[in-house]
Symmetry: C2
Subunit: 492 residues, 2 copies
């Protein structure tokens, strides 16, 4: 790649840092899947020790010197320097005392949040929440250096995004989503799937669906977890799922979602293994992969007709008489309190609400004592229903307890990017739906692999999407897709 000594040294050093980051990530997987519960306290010391090692490496003064001396010659080297500089600058701007205090406070806060959510006592969570927000505002001030605090936080998850551009985008999305939802809910809802779907068959079917999506079992595995996630990268990226025996779609679509995330990691070019380019480029682009696997591909007419056949074979009769009725059941639009269970029409409205509330936190415009009222007022305004209990309201998400401010909008960006990619994908593979109806995802996931996934961190997030699509990303394709799909589905 180059004879440049500084870049060679930087890459050699970085290779070990990436390997150690992989080890730390594996500890998280272990904790959520197989760890004996009595090991929790010891594990938190192990995690903290690994974080200490990683922080020391990422802020090592030699990294600064190598970056200074580097003279990148090609796209790979330029991306390497850009990505390491970004990490180095961010980490050296935040005093290590503050970073440790945030790590400690958010670790405690997650437990406090979980307990408050279980007991539904909002007041138990508020002091801790206030502390986390105060610390994150301090961190943001270090990072922003006079600029917008919330932008500085977003930048950790989605480099290049800004609150202003997101607010403008949400402003354009809201009226079309609200209008679509109003038209849909005026119609009678389609029949839902009802029955008992045994765990063993759900898991076997999930494995089959993951295989149909091309998930590479030689470099991955599936386990059960309370909240499904994917974990790891390079040649070891694992997924998890969960089973609700009354709702087979929970398991199947959680699996597909995580297969999307995991396949992105596994499909990055092997040349980038253990380099700064060897991971998904941003949370938004990552979510675009999980979402297009799950929604545009997985909840479309083609794949659901294949899935209907498989489910009939596995589970027998479950009260849905045709592939068309099955497609409608899977795509029911209905009001609900919980973001993670929201349909494609409602989902982004949940995000917009969180975006506005967390911006107010970070600006200092919303005090924690007022957050429950603010949440409930806003929910009633946006969804027309009163929140019935805290676990269906502001205690539903883990994010704010663990300091993830600026993270929620990446979910909506992922949907928007998935909309763009789907437009480009259907143009490139006109026979897509016919293939999916046979359970054949090869052309679709192959197109995503070649045009997006394999490039890892070579380009910035928007540039990654633009290069794959051949056009600048915007919310238009997603909204067009949603309107077309749900107008047809609800005969509007």
């Amino acid at each position: 790649m180059s004879n440049n000594t500084a870049i060679r040294d930087l890459l050699a050093f970085q290779r070990q840092t990436e390997a150690l980051a992989g080890v730390a990530g594996r500890l998280g997987w272990d904790q959520e899947t197989v760890m004996p519960h009595g090991a929790a306290e010891q594990r938190s010391e192990e995690m903290a020790a690994m974080e200490g090692v990683l922080h020391a490496r990422r802020t090592d003064p030699r990294v600064g010197e190598w970056l200074e001396a580097a003279d990148p010659k090609d796209d790979f080297e330029r991306a390497t320097v850009r990505l390491v500089r970004r990490s180095y600058d961010r980490m050296t701007k935040v005093p290590s005392d503050l970073a440790q205090e945030i790590a400690r406070a958010t670790s405690v806060a997650q437990g406090v949040w979980a307990a408050a959510r279980a007991s539904e006592k909002v007041a138990d969570f508020l002091p801790t929440l206030g502390q986390v927000i105060a610390l994150k505002r301090q961190e943001a001030a270090c990072l922003a250096q006079g600029g917008d605090l919330y932008d500085a936080l977003i930048d950790d998850y989605e480099p290049g995004a800004s609150a202003a551009s997101l607010a403008a985008m949400f402003g354009r999305m809201r009226p079309r989503l609200v209008a679509l939802r109003a038209a849909v809910v005026a119609k009678a809802p389609p029949a839902a799937v009802v029955g008992v779907f045994p765990e063993a068959q759900q898991l076997a079917l999930s494995r089959e669906v993951a295989t149909a999506y091309g998930y590479d079992w030689s470099r991955g595995r599936i386990d059960l977890a309370v909240h499904p996630f994917s974990s790891g990268g390079g040649n070891d990226s694992r997924i998890t799922t969960r089973v609700v025996e009354s709702d087979p779609f929970n398991c199947i679509y959680s699996t597909i979602h995580e297969v999307g995330h995991s396949s992105y990691e596994l499909n990055i070019a092997q040349d980038y293994l253990l380099t700064p380019l060897g991971s998904g480029v941003s949370m938004g682009v990552h979510e675009s992969q999980s979402r297009i696997y799950e929604n545009q591909i997985g909840r479309g007419r083609g794949l659901t007709s294949w899935l209907y056949g498989r489910m009939r074979e596995v589970f027998g009769d479950f009260g849905i008489g045709s592939a068309e009725a099955f497609y409608k059941a899977i795509n029911r639009v209905q009001p609900g309190f919980i973001r993670t269970e929201a349909d494609e029409v409602n989902y982004n409205l949940h995000i917009m609400m969180r975006f506005d509330l967390e911006r107010a936190f970070v600006r200092g415009d919303l005090a924690v004592k007022d957050v429950e009222a603010a949440w409930n007022d806003r929910f009633r305004a946006d969804f027309g229903v009163a929140v019935d209990r805290p676990r269906n309201g502001m205690l539903q998400d883990v994010h704010w307890s663990v300091g993830l401010y600026g993270y929620f909008p990446t979910y909506a960006l992922g949907n928007v990017y998935a909309g763009c990619l789907y437009t480009a994908l259907t143009a490139a593979v006109p026979e897509l739906e016919a293939q999916l109806a046979r359970g054949e995802t090869g052309a679709a996931v192959g197109w995503l692999r070649e045009n997006l996934q394999r490039h890892g961190g070579l380009r910035g997030p928007r540039e990654t999407i633009a290069a794959a699509c051949g056009f600048e990303p915007s919310e238009g394709p997603l909204l067009d897709y949603l309107e077309a799909k749900f107008r047809a589905l609800y005969s509007l």
Copy 2:
């Protein structure tokens, strides 16, 4: 514990080192149980990066300074200083280039050994073996500083042991073992267990047996592995087992053996967690726990009569008509090529042979080109049978490929120590066999926990055994136990 700043700083630093060592160990567990096979190469980079981190910490000059300045005030602090000094001295004596070369060479050699074992081509393994031996001799020379090379290597596994003392002990053991074996094999062998024992039931029974031995499932778990092992310490120590459907004892006694190792780690005093005292004190003492759980307790008349009842309930009739016949079947003495499958009478004879051969390697008295002939000659002399194929001969064990010279004798020491502990245990718990016949191990494992396991690294290995037993350890109790057991069993 003390206001001594140097010791406080040392313990704080060491706490993170211990936590990181736990992380590295967990990677090994992951690799052998759940890792997707395509991740192997990446994993070796992760392991090497962790080793680099640990080596840097263990040889950090500050450790030397703290040791220099330390003024230990009590037993805990004295043990801390002793254990850290030991590790620091050993690691700083070996140049880091050589340490890395050994790590690299043994990692490669393990693969070469496995391939040669599979193809049974000894010649494919010999050049690699020669390279590993040469490197280990260099390492031994750094450590021995003019003393005996083999002693310097043993010391890594069994501090305080020496080739001379082991040779003398083996010299005393051999005639009595050989005489016992000769008397036994002159008699007709007892009936063996035959049948097919389904995997699911074997695993369920193994869990039940582990529970009966007091294994703490809240801080451990069981998985399948090709070669059973236990892994981890503190509050997370896991076991593995394997299943051979024609031989239920493989699974059950592998499980009991690993429960012994794992319980030792789990039962160390919580005050010692993440300190230098928080692990088993030596390989020999570790093996004494796995062996006494497996043999003196697990293969005795009491526990086997309970196990017979459970197996009849789980598997139905398997051709053994009484608890007495079952006890005899489990304790069949028979010639065999494989160390790990050897009965209690033959086992230590396998060790003596390896001990002599590897001492000759390390002295430079045995060239690798001659090792197969040396092995086969010695095996015929010691066991009266000709080795039929390399995988039943010198290719059976992984140890020499991965550089474990001086490790084999710790297995025999474990047996010797288990013999001592059993003498003390039966004196302390006279009703032991009656309890075990009811599947009650509480008094036995409680005695081991309180008198040995909880003390971790507080004392040296021999001192640990002596403190538990109330007498100096020797081979006498083991030989007395074996003679009494097998004379009765074979009506000699």
